[in-house]
Amino acid sequence: MANEGLRDNETLSSLKNESETLKCKLEEERAKLHDVEPFLSVFFFQQDGKVIVWDAFTTNKEHAVTMPCTWVMACAYAPSGCAIACGGLDNKCSVYPLTFDKNENMAAKKKSVAMHTNYLSACSFTNSDMQILTSSGDGTCALWDVESGQLLQSFHGHAADVLCLDLAPSETGNTFVSGGCDKKAMVWDLRSGQCIQSFETHDSDINSVRYYPSGDAFASASDDATCRLYDLRADREVAIYSKESIIFGASSVDFSLSGRLLFTGYNDYTINVWDVLKGTRVSILFGHENRVSTLRVSPDGTAFCSGSWDHTLRVAVGHQRTRPPAKFIFHSGPERPPQFIKSSATAIIHADSPC
């Protein structure tokens, strides 16, 4: 009975040995190419759970949807701008069509798309309004058809909760990166469900991952107080953004349009701006009165928005200290990922949790 399933010359210990050898070989292969030292650099909800879409210029609320579940942890805008997706402790991701008609009850038109067996940590539409990619505390990511709610592909491989995901820029193909509590960042093929590359150099949970604008690299932010840059073609970490004085976890990360600057939000209430190529810190932004939980740069690169447990979203143009953050938007709960739509921060969507 104990030999059932074994092939010739194969035992549990021989497989273990083989996997150890392969792991060493992987590191050796990566090290061989290490020829130089790399670079030395607006859903928001209240007590009963609301998702709010804000106009970043006027600070007016454009839409508000009441969610039946109280903890919304993820939200996303559809590429067309006609729908939003959100979810959280309800283990689901639901899609709401957006309407400007005041008489229509948006919550009534809700469509439940994704079903996980644990909380929804992140969601994102793919190139169209028709598919949604989700990540969950159940350790998996999944791709869903919005219309039918059907599971199109699932992604297994993380050993713990998956906290974040980011889709590759559309020109570079069908992949996405995910980060989890197992300290790993994994790159997946959307169609096959296969993990194509994985990186395990962080010392703690990875809270946020974001692709470099060209799609050839991605950055990660972790509870180990560092952010790191991984190059996909060199298949290794190529830069680490850290300082001895930074001891609090990094919650969020995003690149400027050219990829030269990396904006990172921390649990010590600050935002650090790094020179991606030099690995040095360019700026430190103060202003939030509690931990910065989320951060995004607008699609046209003119502004960035940070959200915090101090119940505000702040939009800033430029990072020089002489220019104060341009707008303050107040609401009543800690911030979850905001996302800009269209150009120039015309609207911000974010999700909020009750205090």
């Binding site: 104990a2 059932e4 399933g5 549990l12 497989l15 273990k16 083989e18 996997s19 392969l22 792991k23 070989k25 992987l26 292969e29 990566r30 190419l33 290490h34 020829d35 130089v36 670079f39 970043a56 210029f57 296969q194 993990c195 194509i196 590359q197 994985s198 470099y212 604008p213 060209s214 050839d216 690299a217 190059d231 073609r233 060199a234 298949d235 290794r236 190529v238 400027s256 349009l257 050219s258 990829g259 030269r260 600057l261 991606v276 190529l277 740069v297 046209d300 690169g301 003119t302 502004a303 960035f304 939009v315 143009v317 430029g318 990072h319 020089q320 341009a326 707008k327 120039s344 921060a345």
Partner: protein, 68 residues
């Protein structure tokens, strides 16, 4: 049987590692150079890098007009 499931897990791990080991890699110097090139090529379009002229800042505080 737990020994069989261990076996399946290990086998899957070995397969995954073989796949990852076979990935085509380029030298770090080349990868770094290409990242740098992308940055420099797009630097002029990056408003957060080069700044935005004060007049066109969409978020500037609205100024009141004075009537003379």
């Amino acid at each position: 049987m737990s020994s069989n499931s261990n076996l399946t897990t290990m086998r899957r791990l070995v397969e995954q590692l073989k796949l990852e080991a076979s990935v085509e890699r380029i030298k770090v110097s080349q990868a770094a150079a290409e990242l740098q090139q992308y940055c420099l090529q797009n630097a002029c379009k990056d408003a957060l890098l080069v700044g935005v002229p004060a007049g066109s800042n969409p978020f500037r505080e609205p100024r009141s007009c004075t009537l003379l």
